[in-house]
Every structure is written in C-alpha cells, then in structure tokens.
Amino acid sequence: MRKLALSDDILLKVEKPARYIGGEVNSVMKDREQVDIRIAMCFPDAYEIGESHLGIKILYDMFNRRQDVWCERVYSPWLDLDKIMREENIPLFALESQDPVRDFDFLGVTIQFEMCYTNILQVLELSHIPLHASLRTDEDPFVIGGGPCAYNPEPLAEFFDLFYVGEGETAYDELFDAYKEWKQSGGSRREFLERAAQIEGIYVPAFYDAEYNEDGTLKSFTPNNVHAPAVVKKQVVMDVTDAPYPEKPVVPFIKATQDRVVLEIQRGCIRGCRFCQAGMIYRPTRERNVERLKEYARAMLKSTGHEEISLSSLSSSDYSELKELVLFLIDEFKDKGINISLPSLRIDAFSLDVMSRVQDVRKSSLTFAPEAGSQRMRDVINKGLTEEDILEGAGQAFEGGWSKVKLYFMLGLPTETEEDMKEIARLSDRVARRYYEIPKDQRNGKCQITASSSFFVPKPFTPFQWASMYPAEEYVRRASIVKHEFQEQLNRKSLKYNWHDAEGTVLEGVMARGDRKVGAVIEEAYRLGCLFDSWTESFRSDLWMQAFENTGVDIDFYNLRERKPDELFPWDFIDTGVSRKFLYREWERAMKGEVTPNCRMQCSGCGAAKFGGGVCYEGKN
C-alpha cells in the first residue's frame, strides 16, 4: 500500500484531506528506481484549481509516456496545512510517490496568472528549496517555469533556474535528454544551465543582465554567457492533431473546478482583440482534426467515467468543424446521460439550436462578452461584435425560451470616457427591452440580465502593452459611475451589476508588466504573509502595500506611466512570432478607433505566418 506523507492526525485535521493523498484514477505510478528523471509539476494554487488545468494534464501525460521520466503533481497546500507543515517542518511532497519535492530532478511550475506569485514562493519554501536560484545547490531540483506568465518572466527571474517560453509539446524531450547526458557527465549546475540555454525556447535568467536608465526604464538587456541567445524564441507545436493529448487524464476524488472531460479543439484565435494576450501569443490559430477529436471524446469519457464533456478553445465558434463535432457529441452521448457543455460560442441560430438540445433552456443562462458598452469602445479594443449582433442574438435566445443572460465587460480600457462606461448599463437595458418586446403571454416572467465588469490590465505582447492604467480609487469611481447608471435604467429591476475588486487589479498590473525589480516586492509580500492572493478570503492588500513601501518599488512607475513607442520592455527579448511593429500598428489603430479584420477575412501581417502553418496557410496548399 502507498504510504502517505502526512499522518492520519494531520489528514483528519485539515479541510479536504483528499487534496493531499494522490492515488486518483489514472494517476501514474512508476518505480522510482527505474526512471532517470523525476519531475514534479506544480500549479501553485489549491488542488481543485490546479487539477482543472489542461496544460498540466497534457504535460503530465506527455512526460509519463517516456519510460525514463516519472512526472508527478504538486499543488499549494491550503492555509491550514501550510501552517502545520511549517510548525512541524514537514517537507512538501508530490502526490503520487508522496516523496519530498526536493529529491526531484525538476520542479516545473505552470504560471497561469499573476496573483499566484506568492504561492510559487510558498511551494519553494515548503519544499525546502532556496527561494533564490542563485542559492541552490546540487541538492536542489532545477526549478522551471512555463505558461502565459513566462512571456514576461522578469518579476520572477531570480526565483527560477529556467523558463520554458511557449507550448510544452516541442522542446521538453531535448531538455530531458540534455539533462540525462549532463547527469552522467557529473557536471556542475551551471554547466547544465548552459546546455539548456542553447535549446530553443529556454530562458535562463541568470545568464542575462538588465541595465536601467535614470528614469527607471530598461536601458539594455544582454546575455552575459556565450551560450545564452540574445533572443528567446517562443515554442509552437504546428501539428496539433498529432501532438500528444491526454486520453487518460487523472480523475480527482473531490470535485475539481473542471470536473469533466475537456476537448481542446484548437489553439490560438483569429479574432485579434487588442486586450487579449492569449489571442496574440498563441498565434497562429491551429485546428485539431475533427475525426481525431471524436476519438478522444470516446476514449476520454470511457477512461474517466466523467458525466460531462466540454469544448475548450478561445473562440469555439471559429472552429471550422464545430457543427460536425457538436452534432456528433449530441448523437453519441446525450442518451448516455452525458452533459455537453459548450462555452465560448457566439450566439446565433446554430448555437441556440444545439444549446436548447443540451441544456434546460429555462434554467440555464446565455453568456455574451461584449467587453465594452459602446460601439466606439468595442472598435478600440477590436472586439468584432456589433450592438446589432448582441441584440439579435439575445432576441433569438429570448424567443427560444431563455430569460437569463450574462454580459461580461471590462472597465478602465484605454481612451474610455464616461459615456463609454454608462453605455454598459444602457446596453444591458437594451437587452432587457428586447426581452419585453415579446408578448407577455409568450414569455417566461421577468428576464434576468447580469452584467459583470472586471478592470482591464494591459498585458505584454498585446497592442495595449503601451497603455497606462489608473489608480485604485479611479477604478472604484468608474465602477460607481456604471452602478449609478444602472439605477437610471428603465428595466433596472431586471438588471444586476457586479464588479471585481480594484486592489487586485493594481497588483496584477505591476506583475504583468514588471521588470526584475518587482521580484523584491513579491518576496517581501510573501514574507509579510501574503498567500493565495487570488482568493478573496486570503487577499491582503494592506500587506502588499506594506511590501511596496518596504522595498521602495513604485506602483505608479509600472501602472500610470505612459510608455514611449520605442521604450525597451523587459519582455522584448522574447520572440513570439508576432512582431512589435504589428503590435504598435494595432495600438495606433486602436487610438483611432479603427477595426482590424480577423485572420480569416484578411491577413494583417502580424508575423506569425513565419511558423509555416495554421490559419495563415488555410486554403493555400
């Protein structure tokens, strides 16, 4: 029987002990003596969040296909266990073997959002691994970071030995082979990093020096080691159909956020929304073959026993075989008690038809993401959705029996005026009006329009990377303008407005476009007790502010400053394939409110065509 790292006493004391015992269906056990490389893959958040993440599932499966590698999982211990582990000096362990993470060859951390940075330090510290890469010895694993936040790894630079920039499917084999060779050669830690730095997509922060101008902006960023390239190239897997996909994903005992089979139908997005980082860094759009997806659906439902299957992509409606796939899923699985969930669908006749077949129309709600209230603002962000589209879609939905609609917006977008903000409320009201146009005897009571807004945070490698942000008070003011406008609306009783908190936004802004100097704040905030910052119950804005004060790092420098067209950004050493020239052109077009057509309508020459495939070459074979 597997021996657990935690005693019965501890497991009986903590909330949801199943987070820490491993042994789930489809988790992979190997003989530790029979493998050459042990890697612990970490999602630095609670088990239920991490276990829902597709990226880790792909890597876990891919790594474990290699006989010489055993990949295990590790997540952030929740606050109750965190305290016990510190008090009793229990080292953090991986779920499968329950062995200490420190004994592993690699600790891989997927960095999905900025608000998990203090949890990365928690995982390192609980693993008894020095926080700073420079202090690690032969006794420590190599700590490697990946995921979207690795596209600006600089705030985390000193905590990681290396970063993998881009999609994991391409270069890990080379990295593992290099590691085995190095291990046999008995070389130094530095020697391995030098070897790794030569692999495309690998960034070793210690091999680069950052110099700053007097005003604090970056002056230069140059390799200090001959083996490190000046430019790190993002990795892309061009053949997504034949890329490895986890047909036997782990099935958690406790309910994870995504408690279902997830089918990734395509990668990338043709839309080119100017605020969206995923839409830029995952270019070019690549579709998975529909027949392959059908096979995966069958195999994964069988291997997991899940009762739900969901499609995953940035914009499912743009998948060219969507109809074929969705009808297959309904025909094949609906009668077997399998729920089919179809997120990110554009609302039109087809999607309403299939949705009415897979869900209870009266209970479920439809989601629209206009992102901005006014047409002017939607043109600025290049959200190719008109008011007509929204009202037409909502109208069809209402006539089809739906009465609940969710609307997602952003506040604090570049060039946003008071009029733009108020339009959020007015648009919501117009959606409600559309509902009440239906004769009373043909509709289902009142409608329920729920509008939510989050505050916009500019992200690296988007056209809005030049944009300035606002102070926290300004975000609150903007939300209250919208709130008041909602109270002015005719159908206010059918409208509900929620907004996200502003303090987190400010922090996210600093982390997203931060440089190496920001690392000190993260460490100080962690020392002061910040942890699980994305959880409202544990987020401590006051401690974060204290950390900024203690380290002398200036929030306004990162968030409020207007960035010059030619300013050298901390992330500029990464080549995502989408050129900075294109991004700047898009920024200028945004300022003029000019819309750019999507990739299928017309190529805008972003640069991603150099990868030689995907949407850039559709119909050109």
Binding site: D8, I21, G23, V25, F253, I254, K302, T304
Partner: protein, 259 residues
C-alpha cells in the same frame, strides 16, 4: 432489476468523504460499463443509494449500495469490471441481485453494524479492560446527544447489541439505520468519561449515580497521552426477525449471485 454492491474501503481512501465516494462510484459505473438505470428529466442521474455514510477517517470491510439495472449482468463479470475501474483503497467484494421491492433497499432495512475499535495513539490505563466490562454491565448508559436544535439525554445501552474484547481491540455491534443509529465514537467517548480517561467533560456521562466514582481517574489521565481510537466498520445488517425478536442478517446475504 436491482443489485446490491458490497465493497471495502481502506488506506488512503479513508480520507474520501461520503459524497465523494458516491461520485467515485458514479464514475466507476461508466468506466466499467455497468448497465445502470437513470432517472428521467433534463439532468438524469444514476439510480443508486448507499446504505449508510461512513465518516472520514474510518475504514470498512462492509460498505453497501444498491443500484437499478437496465439489464442483467453476471456477478462475477460485474465485480471484475468494477475492480478494474477502481483504485487502491476501494475494492468491490460482491455484486448481488436483490428484491425489487422498494422497502428492501439497504438504506431502509439497515438495522445494525459491526465495528472494531483499536487504539491508534496514546495509552489507556492498565485496567481499562476491567473498566470496559464494568461500563458495559451498567443497566443504562446515558449521554447527552447534541442535535441541531436541542440537547437531549438518551440511554445508548440498548443500542449496543453486542460487544466483545478481541485482544486489545473492542468489537461492537451497534444499532444503525434511520430510526436508531449509534456511532462507535459516541460509545468510546462515553466510556472515556466513565473511566475518567483524559480531560473529557464528566457531565456528559450519567450512569445512575456513578459519576462521582468515575471522577477518580482524572489525575492519572493528565500524565498520559490522550488515547485516540481508530474505527473500522466490519459489516452491516438488516433485521429479519419477527414479533420484535431481533435477527440480524448481513445485507449481502439478502441478495443472490447473478449468473
């Protein structure tokens, strides 16, 4: 057609709560392709009912749930397929056809359960076995039962059907089910109070005037490490007796093998 499944739960899976065990078996049904019936409606769910939830931390050799089948499947085949779809910590022991009568489901007919109590941590006084015999020979064991709304005093002695010292462990056969239910930890708490072991509140045990005598153990209690028990469920029973006579039959025994 209805089937009753008996399984055991051990090791790390002791830390999976009841609701998650239910979810686990729903997925096992799909992985093992068991022809289970669903309810109708927009969100159909499997027809499955568990005899009695097992608390977190407890292990068991005798857990049960009943399902509705759409077509027959042989017992051997079902057990084999389900075990292939299980993980270490849960093992299916039997799969048997039961009567279709509604009132025969495990949950409604459950009447008793066997437990084995072992000392997991800490120590007991040398004479604990003697004390335990004394405790069990009392005509009444009154404890205060906390419910959501009130506290009430109940006599749990009639709910202890059988007991036995097995080496250093204690065997208990207790009332279980929807009308009368007694958990083994309540028995042990009452015993600890009776014997004055640990710092437990003596007010909770009233054994018809014996409280004062029981107070004597307190001083020694503080020197030892508080005993902590682990509980293992062994079996669950239905009552097949007539005219108020109790005759416990295992839930498994009420089913028959499917060929």
């Amino acid at each position: 057609m209805k089937a009753r499944i008996k399984f055991r739960k051990y090791g790390a899976l002791r830390f999976i709560g009841h609701l998650d065990v239910m979810r686990f078996f729903q997925k096992v049904m799909r992985r093992a392709d068991i022809p289970i019936a669903f309810t109708g409606g927009y969100s159909p769910h499997m027809i499955m009912s568990f005899a009695s939830p097992l608390g977190i931390g407890l292990s068991s050799d005798g857990e049960y749930f009943d399902i509705e089948l759409t077509e027959p499947i042989s017992s051997n085949e079902a057990v084999r397929r389900m075990n292939e779809a299980c993980v270490e910590g849960i093992e299916v022991l039997s799969f048997r056809k039961i009567s279709d009568e509604k009132k025969m489901t495990g949950m409604t007919i459950l009447a008793g359960a066997d437990y084995l109590v072992s000392l997991r941590k800490g120590t007991l006084p040398d004479d604990w076995k003697e004390k335990f015999r004394e405790f069990m020979s009392m005509p009444e064991i009154r404890i205060v039962k906390q419910t959501k709304r009130s506290e009430r005093e109940v006599d749990i002695r009639p709910l202890i059907y059988q007991w036995e010292l097995r080496g250093d462990d204690i065997f208990l056969q207790l009332a279980a089910g929807s009308s009368e239910n007694l958990k083994p930890d309540l028995v042990m708490e009452a015993f600890m109070d009776y014997a004055g072991i640990g710092a437990a509140d003596t007010e909770t045990v009233k054994n018809g005037g014996g409280t004062e005598d029981a107070g004597g153990g307190h001083e020694t209690g503080e020197e030892r490490e508080m005993p902590v028990f682990s509980y293992h469920r062994l079996e669950m029973y239905a009552d097949c007796g007539k005219d108020g006579e109790r005759r416990l039959v295992t839930l498994e025994h009420l089913g028959e093998e499917l060929e």
